[in-house]
Subunit: 622 residues, 2 copies
């Protein structure tokens, strides 16, 4: 029998179905175990199941369908999943997965640092001074006289505002000056609001924080899937895409910039500000994201000796990268440490400040790529390890992002082997409450929980293999002949399919865990310490991770549970600190130059530690 | 009888016809006395008569017509004048008039100044140095080591070139550095060519000069009609357009930038270079053009005290204004002197250097607006006068630009009153040769000639009025009842209409002459001199002006003919000097600050001198 056509790939979930030809995209998604919210049951009534066909042939929507699409989705390729038929091979992007919840807010509350942003406002009164001097020269004269600011240059984007007559800029005005060097804005009155933006560009997720530059108040946060997942799930596949195509880096930059613009617009609409009010921004990201963001092909990072093109920090104009912020807005891109330890890790260090402490800190930023830093005020070592996307729920058979409908906690009764779980609800409130949602899949923390619970219940051994011993309807052979454990029966789920954890899923977790474990161990060898005083787990995933599960699996070196802190998106917080305090930018430059980078692949002990890390710890440890 | 519809306006010629409804645009142009080249006689065969309908309803061209249109003209609004019918009111742009000849080349030959451009190339060898440092840091290290260049910033547009692997940038490379401050380019090899562009933005014409930055060699020149003529013929109408519409300045900026891009592309295609090879540029222009070029509404220049928005020189990135040059190319915009004495006049002074001479120079830049400078190394005074467009052939009944088919010299036999003239030929070679073209109208120099010759032949009196005395078939009452003199009979012309000079045309010349005369006289009063040692006439028009005719009309203060120099586009030459020698930019800043501006309208003597200037000089003077 010939293979039936219609291979369909869903992104960012990275799931696919074969032989979907002629089915609706909604049905094909169900086949692939991908959850698309369709409250009307796929009857073409509610207009909620909008998707975008990014590769392959999408027919134009009917008039009825067009009218149902959300305004933002009235663009080429957008269809309702319940009405569009699969035709040939297709890749389909799920915008519902685009805007994800963000768990980093806590970090910003209660913390207060110096407020001394790079872009500051200076008050002048244009009614003062000689009326017959050129307007800009009057502004410059008043800034020199009243604020001792001399030899300022001017961003040409400011000039049109100064030229218009009869504007509000005739009397009191606030002049925005960047680093006491460049005039970057002229606002009427002395109360003018100006905003800043901190951007954390991850391989999978882009997070943004908008803050008031006058008082540091966070006014909006948001996150969006990095649309580069279309080109590959991890940094190596992005490098490879760039190397294969002359315009590869440019294409990846373009989709990234577009998604940041959409994210900022979304945040602005929601919180009642205008993107043009943003006059300064800071950017962090891993080395590959950093390069692509700047339009630099990351190709050199894929070749020995893996050198970046630029390592030092950089100031660029937002408009030069196509970002729709204020017309004269600048971007401060934080420096890289080395090779694959990027500006995001520098930002984590700004936030966690292990270089200011006596005790030995282990700072782990868990993302698709993991970065580890170990040390104290005397010495800091860093390394990078390929964690893989398993901890974010990708490459897991029933895995999904930590969004509405995802199981985020799993408990397995060791006696009955019955399963209890909670589901992320609307607005990402943890569920388990009245009216909890039916689950659609497992997010990363649930995957870790599940493996730890299976191990605790004796269903898997130290090597991660399902034990032969215990019998349960939940433990079975799956369709592909692989053993799997059923977390939720199809009657309970939204997709109408069982939610399972397979032997392969457990292997993925073991690989991720081994990579982190080995990285930590190698740094401890190099620093010559046998234990650490505290562990800080950064990254959105870290926020959701159950400490006890992590300890049970031996992801980190053994330490008391109360010495482990989940610090959320510390990279984003570091970017925010650099946004609100110019001195932090200089501190970041010093940190980046000072941290000693350890290349794991060159370390003799790495292979051995990695092998050790694959096993689950003995029950007596931790 | 009701007025027949179909008013059609031709730009940049500024001529119009009424009641053209249903005629072809070509026929309407003939009615209006506008010459459109149509070698096939308007039979829709040659495709040479392409025009653009910029306002009003243009039907789409037929397939046959589309195929005939030049590639560049296959865009909305383009039609063949012989096939498009006038429908309702229309404005039609004549691209044939766009690319005009340029007489400024002479200035560049034989002159040689210092070659020390702001953007210089430095040779490094990337095979040297540590392979595991970030690439940009290696470049910076080699620049510091080999060329003593420290603390350089980097234009982010350069980064993508450095990132690509396997490029030519692995060994010898030329790094371009602007003002020993900023890395703006990385070219393979040590022989890499880099070009500069000098731009002179006039109210009516934009001139461009491309030069090799290594040796100063001029490799291309070109000029194009400033498309802002669509919005008004002179600076005051442009200010008024900006004041009336919130996006007025932006629209005028957009068409200007687009035309500069087209001009540069045209020059590049013709001379075999690429616009991206241009890495530095200088810009001069009158105050209003300067403001609009920078996107600054010129509104303040229309209101007392007529202050510009910015007066000092400015460095901006070409890309920020939408100019398609090298990606990191910068633009140096020269400073303004004051009010209406702009950067173009500063450039004229750079070129003519009256501030370095002992003798008293009178430097007159003749354009739609005239700028006059008087003085020597001790003191320089400047003023601006509204010459009007008559000297460029506009607002003259049979006037046209100095392009192919324009009469450029006129002689009237005082005895027979017969007329002899020469016509500008193909490639703007002066005609009068074998196979000379039939004329289509009078350019500015011919208008001045004609008035001087009519005066010399006693056909007009000192007051400019046609005399009653002499009879000739050429001197007649025109259709409107106004007296006129026939320069060329319709049997000789290309348009099939007589080419005439009317009483009103003579008045236009008198007004222009009076403005220049009064400006010169007021400055002489202020400097307390009774004569000048030399006169330099700048401007493309000046190049064609017949000295004897100018003396006969008393346009300038009396001086021996051999002390008058026609120096061509000195503004463009000054822009070129500032392009090739960074020191000239500083000199320009000093000149702009040092020249004393005289506001003619505030001078008591101005009105009297203007009245005096309206009369033609007594026959014994000069």
């Amino acid at each position: 029998m010939a293979t039936k056509g219609g291979r369909i790939l869903f992104v960012p979930a990275s799931k696919q179905a074969e032989g979907a030809e002629g089915k609706t995209i909604l049905d094909a998604a169900r086949d692939a175990g991908v959850y698309i919210d369709a409250p009307c049951g796929g009857k073409g009534l509610c207009g909620r199941c909008g998707v975008r066909v990014v590769e392959g042939e999408a027919e134009s929507p009917s008039e009825h369908e067009s009218a149902l699409l959300k305004t933002a989705e009235r663009a080429p390729g957008y269809r309702l999943a319940c009405m569009a038929l699969v035709k040939g091979d297709m890749a389909v992007f799920l915008p519902q997965e685009g805007l994800v919840s963000h768990a980093g807010k806590k970090l910003f509350a209660g913390r207060s640092g110096a407020i001394d942003p790079a872009v500051k406002g200076y008050h002048i009164d244009l009614a003062e001074g000689e009326a017959d001097r050129a307007r800009l020269e009057r502004v410059a004269g008043l800034l020199a006289l009243r604020h001792r600011l001399d030899n300022l240059s001017t961003d040409p984007a400011v000039l049109p505002d100064l030229g218009r007559t009869g504007s509000d800029l005739e009397g009191r005005a606030t002049i925005l000056v960047r680093e006491e060097k460049e005039i970057v804005g002229a606002l009427p009155g002395w109360d003018a609001r100006r905003l800043g933006l901190a951007l954390d560009i991850g391989t999978t997720t882009v997070a943004a924080y908008a803050a008031d530059l006058k008082d540091g108040r966070l006014i909006a946060t948001g996150a969006v899937t990095n649309p580069q997942v279309l080109f590959g799930p991890d940094v190596m596949s992005r490098i490879s895409y760039s190397s294969r195509r002359p315009d590869g880096a440019k294409r990846m930059q373009a989709v990234l910039i577009a998604s940041i613009n959409a994210l900022v617009r979304h945040m602005a609409d929601e919180k009642g500000f205008d993107a043009s009010e943003i006059v300064d921004a800071t950017v962090v990201g891993n080395t590959v994201m950093h390069h692509i963001f700047l339009g630099i092909p990351p190709d050199r990072l894929g070749l020995w000796p893996f050198t970046p093109t630029i390592r030092r920090s950089l100031d660029v104009k937002a408009r030069d990268l196509g970002l729709d912020l204020g017309r004269a807005a600048s971007l401060h891109v934080l420096p890289l440490e080395a090779g694959f330890v990027g500006a995001d890790n520098v930002a984590v260090l700004l936030s966690e400040a292990p270089h200011t402490r006596d005790e030995i800190s282990l700072v782990i930023d868990l993302g698709t790529n993991g970065e580890i830093v170990l040390g104290n005020r005397e010495r800091l070592l860093s390394c990078s390890c390929a964690t893989g996307p398993a901890l974010e729920g990708a490459h897991i058979s029933s895995g999904m992002r930590a969004i509405e409908g995802a199981i985020n906690k799993v408990r397995i009764d060791a006696a009955t082997l019955e399963v209890d779980y909670t589901v992320i609800g609307k607005d990402c409130r943890t569920a388990g409450q009245e009216g909890a949602l039916a689950p659609a899949g497992l997010c990363g923390s649930a995957v870790v929980d599940a493996v730890a619970q299976l191990y605790g219940a004796g269903l898997i051994g130290r090597d991660g293999a399902f034990s032969q011993g215990r019998g349960s309807a939940r433990l079975r052979k799956g369709e592909s002949g692989m053993k799997e454990f059923v977390i939720a029966w199809k009657g309970e789920t939204k997709t109408g399919r069982d939610i399972v954890l397979t032997q392969k899923d457990i292997r993925e977790v073991q690989l991720a865990k081994a990579a982190i474990y080995a990285g930590c161990r190698v740094l401890m060898h190099r620093l010559n310490v046998f234990s650490v005083d505290r562990i800080a787990i950064a990254g959105a995933f870290g926020m959701r991770l159950d400490k006890e599960s992590a300890i049970a699996l031996g992801i980190f070196p053994p330490v008391d549970s109360d010495r482990i802190a989940m610090v959320g998106n510390a990279a984003g917080h570091g970017a925010y600190l650099a946004l609100m305090d110019e001195a932090k930018r200089k501190e970041a430059d010093r940190i980046a130059a000072w941290v000693v980078h350890v290349e794991l692949a060159r370390e003799e002990t790495f292979q051995r530690e990695f092998m050790n890390g694959l096993s689950l710890p003995g029950k007596t440890s931790a």
